[in-house]
């Protein structure tokens, strides 16, 4: 990693809390308020209650990580925010405006809240650059040439320029994830919704991905809503960690991680990190046991 960033990381670990980000101020956007959201699949009487009176905030310009056992309903929340599912009751606000709620149970998917999917959703039949340029082109914001130019710049920024004319099937999954994030960022979204994006990667690749994500975040300051089952990943990445109960999910514990950004892997051995882990591991483990006993299956 480059020496400037390494130095910045060292400084931030040693710095007293709280510290604000070292990047220039951008107008804060992407604040999500989830209020009393309930989601029942099927009928009231004998449906599956995935989310039960869930309330928490996703602050703008920060990384919020939701941790919980498999099948607990966290993806349902993400899908509701993204506009793929409706909610049964409650409200979700985005930057003060109602995203979905009474009278409008389902939001419309759109480029202000872009999802990065668990198994990756780069279009296999388009080249990398066609994928990345896809958003602005279909929205009609840019011409093909303009979009390609911007795509090239963003790919270069992320260190992925060589891959431009490859197909997704030809590159590694780690690369694909990063391309997908780049594709999302091309559209300047308010919120980036990440649905366990690194679940299928090995831990070595994962650590590289984490640093890549943090670096991207430092550059863009986009609000990130991240779902995972991995507590260490959550504390390492997030400003705020929300620990969910098993199905039906609601916040069990909310942790504010006061380790300032930019962060690097040395955080993992820092004392403060271990302290946060201590605080939360018991809660997560308790829910994990409940989920196991209930026979929860992976999606």
């Amino acid at each position: 990693m480059n020496p400037e960033r390494a130095a910045a990381c060292e400084r931030s670990i040693a710095a007293p809390l709280p510290a604000t980000s070292s990047s220039p101020e951008k107008p804060r956007r992407g604040e999500i308020r989830i209020a009393d959201v309930i989601k029942i699949y099927g009928s009231e009487a004998n449906g599956i209650r995935a989310v039960d009176k869930c309330t928490f905030d996703v602050p703008a310009g920060k990384i919020t990580v939701v941790v919980g056992p498999s099948g607990c309903g966290k993806t349902t929340l993400l899908n509701a925010i993204a506009g793929f599912h409706s909610i049964t009751s409650g409200t979700i606000h985005l930057d003060g405006k109602v995203l979905c709620g009474a009278g409008r149970p389902k939001a419309e998917p759109g480029p202000d809240r872009i999802v990065v999917f668990q198994n990756g959703a780069l279009f296999p039949w388009k080249t990398i650059i066609e994928n990345v340029a896809f958003g602005p082109i279909v929205q009609g914001r840019l011409t093909r040439r303009q979009a390609f130019d911007q795509a090239r710049t963003m790919l270069a920024e992320a260190g992925l320029r060589n891959l431009e004319s490859n197909y997704p099937g030809e590159i590694s999954s780690g690369m694909r994830r990063r391309v997908e994030i780049t594709r999302a960022l091309m559209n300047d979204p308010k919120v980036l919704l990440l649905d366990e994006p690194y679940r299928a990667l090995d831990s070595l690749t994962k650590s590289v991905m984490h640093e890549a994500l943090l670096e991207t975040f430092d550059r863009n300051q986009v609000t990130i809503f991240f779902i995972t089952h991995d507590l260490e990943e959550a504390i390492f990445l997030g400003h705020r960690v929300v620990i969910m109960t098993t199905r039906p999910c609601r916040p069990k514990k909310v942790l504010t991680v006061d380790i300032p950004h930019p962060r690097d892997y040395s955080v993992l051995t820092a004392k403060r990190f271990r302290e946060y882990l201590d605080e939360t591991a018991a809660a997560v483990h308790e829910e994990a046991l409940k989920a196991f006993a209930a026979g929860e299956r992976e999606r």
């Binding site: 480059n2 480029p111 999802v115 959703a121 388009k126 590159i171």
Partner: protein, 309 residues
């Protein structure tokens, strides 16, 4: 000063090998030829070609022995391989049909023409219909039941009705061939659309695409692999129906040839007809497959690298 990305070093190892800009294109071509030559030499070194040889020898050998040497009673009327091959290759064939006679090619051409017309029509109608059926739930609810109602009726059961409905002798045959092909194509296309991972569709909507754009950018390319598999099946089914239709009505064509040579007790010609059918059928199927590979470069490359699904 250019920002040095953090993972440039890792990237060098992860990025696929590409010919650098300084080496001209011909090097790419040469290496492709080398790869092909290598593969062939590997194939020759494996037991596969020899087993294949053994298989054919056994098959032909058994046929030869059964008819011409042991003269088994069951096989008494069958022509042996020597009779068939010599007839096929003879410049002056006993029954008037060999690779030297223009009639042979006429029959092949007529059959091939019928299949092509029927297949193209079936594809032109079946693919759009299948796409719509897969894409629009409402459309499927209206149209699919009617479709499914007629499907169990084998195409060949339509023969008399086709003869009644259409004038002339060509149209019924093409219609029958078309029917079978059409069903296979439509069904496979529809399945193809339905099997597209919903994440791709969702991703497109997230990125701001409208319904129509999702259809052209995601559904159509995403269903392509299934469509092409369906087309291969469809070609096979087309030949299947064509032969039956030709045997029952019409003039010229390989099916007709087989039937007439049977009635006229010209059995070697009959067998020639059968094998020609097999070869032509195989070639058309392979043609469709190659076209599919060409049009779906991304899939060919993905499979070549042993890519994950």
């Amino acid at each position: 000063m250019e920002l040095e990305p953090t993972y440039a070093a890792a990237q060098a190892n992860l990025a696929p090998r590409k010919a650098s800009a300084t080496i001209p294109d011909s090097a790419d071509h040469a290496s492709r030829l080398e790869v092909a030559a290598y593969r062939v030499s590997q194939w020759l070194r494996s037991p596969r070609p020899y087993l294949m040889l053994v298989g054919f020898v056994l098959f032909l050998g058994f046929w030869y022995l059964a008819v011409e040497v042991w003269k088994l009673p069951r096989f008494s009327q069958m022509p042996g391989p020597t009779a068939v091959i010599s007839e096929w290759l003879s410049p002056d064939p006993t029954y008037g049909l060999s690779i030297y006679s223009p009639e042979y090619y006429q029959h092949i051409w007529v059959s091939w023409r019928r299949v092509s017309i029927a297949f193209i029509l079936a594809t032109a109608m079946g693919v759009p219909l299948g796409l719509l059926l897969g894409w629009s739930q409402r459309f499927k609810e209206y149209v699919f039941p009617v479709f499914e109602l007629l499907r169990p009726i084998p195409p060949l059961a339509w023969v008399p009705l086709a003869i009644i409905m259409f004038q002339g002798s060509e149209t019924p045959i093409i219609f029958l061939t078309f029917l079978a092909s059409f069903y296979a194509t439509t069904l496979n296309t529809m399945l193809g659309v339905e099997s597209i991972d919903v994440s791709f569709i969702r991703a497109a909507y997230c990125l701001g695409a409208k319904r129509q754009q999702v259809f052209w950018h995601v559904i159509v390319p995403g269903a392509m692999p299934f469509i092409f598999t369906g087309l291969q099946i469809s070609v096979g089914v087309a030949w299947f129906s064509l032969v039956a239709a030709e045997m029952v009505s019409g003039q010229y064509g390989l099916g007709y040839l087989i039937n007439t040579s049977y009635t006229m007790v010209q059995y070697p010609t009959m067998v020639i007809g059968m094998f020609t059918l097999g070869v032509v059928g195989y070639l058309t199927s392979a043609g469709v497959r190659l076209l599919g590979n060409y049009m779906m470069q991304w899939r060919a490359r993905e499979l070549a690298i042993g890519g994950e699904r």
